[in-house]
């Protein structure tokens, strides 16, 4: 028995998405004027319409990117540089004021830190409450009349804590401050809606919702000035040059459409399953569920645990040996485990374990994970061997990388 409980990292692609991907991979260049090019362009524009419908925006707001990280970078750097360009024209070369939170994904955190390090941004970082949520008032208190951008994630990728972006967005819209919402993690189970959130920019990634890796969407509301990051042929309204990846773009739209259509049902199903998972380990010594207590403030897909007295490296090995794929923290470039900035911002120092569910998750997987954790955690805490839990999958790991 295996359990894939790392959907927050990536989800298996839906078969219908793979069909679309394969259908459009051999497409012509969508910018070519000839008929095959027109066919390809039609596929891109249909994808744009479908993505817009799924995200509560208009087709003109949709820019396809290589994924969530590029979408975040495009929104943040694009808006900051456009604001600086405008202010420089008025003789103001001061760094622009940006408000964000301490629990953002690295794609936002590091992009803004880089801008701040270069002296382009004066950064205000809002700490979360102990449950990992960012209080709307805490964010709005930092906003000034000259604030150029506010960036708050819809829900945190580690804890699944949901932020009240609708309240923040309404206030910012009234004050005329651009608002970016990293929606990569919440798109699977939360009703992401540019209009309802009064957001000006969203970032979404296809592979979190049954789409392929390597494609995402930056929603950039028309009227918000954005400087491009990549210059070239001027595709996608000049904001994102590069040959349209027709297959990936069409597959992304297919994944978005299906994910949104099935979202309410998936949310209800995953809520039950994640509750079942959390309840199954709730009585274990040294295991604490982190994140908001109110289910409405928690992604249905996430169970985030803090394990006391458990070594993260040992935990990873034990879970692999027992066939459970889950995240025991992020990895640095070498692949070594490293501490979680989100946990640190929440004032927690235990070993994190994120179990995240998705469209393929079954009750059997949940029960397997519960059985493994009930066996492994006490052993890990007491220093007993964990390679032989009696639950180990029989199959030897297959050679990866396609090697001989």
């Amino acid at each position: 028995m295996r359990a894939d409980l790392d959907h927050a990292a990536t989800t298996p692609p839906r078969p219908e998405v793979l069909e679309v991907l394969v259908r459009w991979l051999p497409a012509a260049n969508a910018s070519a004027r000839h008929l095959p090019g027109q066919d390809a362009r039609a596929a891109v524009e249909e994808a744009r319409e479908r993505a817009a419908a799924a995200l509560g925006c208009t087709p003109a707001d949709v820019v396809f990117t290589s994924g969530g990280t590029e979408a975040d970078n495009l929104a943040l750097k694009g808006v900051v540089w456009a604001a600086r360009t405008a202010r420089r024209a008025a003789g103001d070369d001061a760094p622009v004021h940006v408000v964000t939170t301490a629990v953002e994904h690295a794609a936002v955190r590091e992009a803004l830190r880089w801008l701040a390090d270069r002296g382009e941004v004066e950064l205000d970082v809002v700490a979360p409450r102990p449950d990992g949520r960012v209080d709307a008032a805490d964010v709005l208190d930092r906003v000034r009349s000259d604030t150029a951008l506010v960036s708050v994630m819809g829900a945190n990728n580690e804890t699944g804590a949901v932020n009240d972006v609708a309240t923040i967005g309404a206030d910012l819209r009234a004050r005329g401050v651009p608002f970016h919402v990293d929606s990569v993690q919440c798109i699977a189970t939360l009703d992401v809606d540019l209009d309802a959130w009064h957001a000006d920019a969203l970032a979404v990634s296809a592979h979190k919702i049954g789409g392929p890796q390597g494609v995402g969407v930056a929603v950039l509301r028309r009227g918000v000035d954005v400087e491009p990051l990549a210059h070239g042929g001027g595709q996608d309204r000049g904001v994102r040059s590069g040959t349209f990846a027709v297959g990936l773009v069409a597959a992304c739209a297919e994944a978005l459409t299906r994910a949104v259509a099935e979202r309410a049902a998936l949310r209800a199903r995953l809520r039950d399953l994640s509750d079942r998972l959390a309840a199954g380990v709730a009585d274990l010594d040294g295991v604490h569920r982190t994140g908001p207590g109110d289910p409405a403030h928690r992604l249905a897909s996430h169970v985030h645990l803090e394990l006391d007295g458990v070594d993260g490296d040992a935990l990873q090995l034990a879970l692999d040996a027992a066939g459970v794929a889950a995240s025991s923290g992020s990895a640095c470039s070498s692949g070594a485990g490293r501490g979680s900035a989100v946990m640190a911002a929440m004032g927690r120092d235990g070993t994190p374990l994120r179990l995240s569910l998705g469209w393929t998750t079954t009750a059997d997987e949940i029960d397997h994970a519960v059985a493994v954790l009930r066996e492994a955690v006490p052993r890990l805490r007491s220093g007993a061997p964990v390679l032989d839990l009696g639950l180990r999958p029989v199959a030897a790991p297959a050679a990866r990388d396609g090697a001989a």
Binding site: D311, D313, A314, Q316, L317, A318, D320, A331, C332, S333, S334, G335, A336, G337, R338, G383, A384, P385, V386, L387, D388, P397, A398, A399, R400, D401, A403, A404
Partner: protein, 376 residues
């Protein structure tokens, strides 16, 4: 079949070690140890760079074994780098690779592996294990450490810190092969590290400038360079920049060949003299560790190796000086250039089985010049 954790440095030896274990039917898991905090841009061939982690990961991928990176940076800094800095500041010549094997690979990684349920830790060191005279292929008691098949690559010297219990949970698969055979195996397996150059530098000093690395941590502590009569003949910037036996780089005027014969950190003094003043008739090891169940006793004839690829000096074991628990090794013929802190590693009289050893804590000088006490 045993559950074996193999330490993949990113080099060819550990890659082939892992491959041999897989071929032998063991249940193998690879781990890359992130030890020194070297800049990501450093293109080193040590064991700590990002490239090495990538090479290790690729090896595991080709072999189809699980692979993890363990960050042991804190323990490495504390036990190896800090100890190296302290030892160097004290005017001794510690071997950080030995410290790393003792305090990191055996004390930390092997212990962790055993706790998790692995039967053994394997590395790509060139050294052999023998049980009842036969090559060791599965972990278990009774293993003794023996020099490598490739004598020129033998690394038993840096493994002498292993205890019999640790050797019982150790596998050294490449020790039976020559380096050329290791590279040929790697090439045959399609491992891209087959032609990767050997590493010679300290892994935490990627540019190879050990003195500069120590300067960064110790600053400047200038002092006199004196001759055997105590006359100042030059200046130095820090005793860690010199080591006993060194001849070059002293910046001394005059044409006679002069060697560093003593380093007195307490007085910041470096003593130079003719080669004869380096001659050393005995060394003492106050706190040895033994790799064999029955340590050598006074009267036993042994071989003593004093540097990583140095000669194995014939010697006889005699009791240590007053108040010294460890043995003194009386060398048949004097050795030249013995520095305190470097490891004296004992082998049996046939120069085959590694018995153990430890840092030199005292050594004789015929010139009547006692070496400074380690750590003073």
């Amino acid at each position: 079949m045993a559950r074996v954790l193999v330490a993949l440095s990113g080099g060819v030896d550990s890659a082939v070690a892992a491959a041999l274990l897989v071929e032998a039917g063991h249940d193998v898991t690879g781990v890359h140890l992130r030890l020194a905090d070297v800049p990501a841009a450093a293109v080193g061939h040590g064991c700590c760079g990002l490239d090495d982690a990538q090479d290790a990961r690729r090896t595991a991928g080709v072999l189809g074994i699980p692979f993890y990176v363990w960050d042991l940076g804190d323990v490495f800094r504390r036990e190896v780098e800090d100890a190296f800095v302290a030892g160097s500041a004290a005017g001794t010549t510690p071997n950080p690779c030995i410290t790393c094997n003792e305090r990191v690979k055996y004390a930390e990684v092997l212990a962790r592996a055993r706790t998790l349920g692995f039967d053994a830790l394997a590395t790509g060191h060139h050294a052999r294990l023998r049980r009842d005279g036969r090559p060791v292929t599965t972990p278990g008691p009774g293993a003794v450490l023996v020099r490598a098949a490739d004598r020129a690559k033998d690394q038993s010297y840096v493994l002498h810190v292993a205890t019999p219990a640790q050797l019982a949970a150790t596998l050294l698969p490449v020790g039976e092969l020559t380096k050329a055979e290791v590279r040929a195996r790697a090439a045959a397996l399609g491992l891209r590290v087959a032609t990767k150059p050997d590493s010679y530098e300290l892994c935490f000093v990627p540019d190879g400038d050990t003195s500069g690395w120590l300067d960064d941590r110790l600053g400047s502590a200038p002092g006199p360079v004196v001759d055997l009569e105590g006359r100042e003949v030059g200046r130095h910037d820090g005793v860690w920049r010199t080591t006993v036996g060194q001849r070059r780089g002293l910046g001394l005027a005059g044409h006679e060949r002069r060697f560093v014969v003593d380093v007195d950190a307490a007085r910041r003094t470096v003593v130079v003299g003719p080669r004869d003043a380096l001659a050393c008739g005995w060394v003492e090891v106050a706190a040895p560790t033994w790799a064999v169940a029955a340590p050598p006793r006074p009267g036993d004839r042994v071989r003593v190796q004093l540097r990583a690829h140095g000669a194995a000096h014939p010697a006889v074991v005699v009791p240590g000086g007053p108040g010294v628990a460890g043995p003194r090794l009386a060398l048949d013929a004097p050795a030249h250039g013995v520095a305190l802190g470097q490891a004296a590693v004992l082998y049996d009289a046939a120069d085959t089985v590694c018995l153990g050893g430890g840092p030199v804590t005292a050594a004789e000088r015929p010139a009547g010049l006692p070496l400074a006490v380690a750590g003073a």
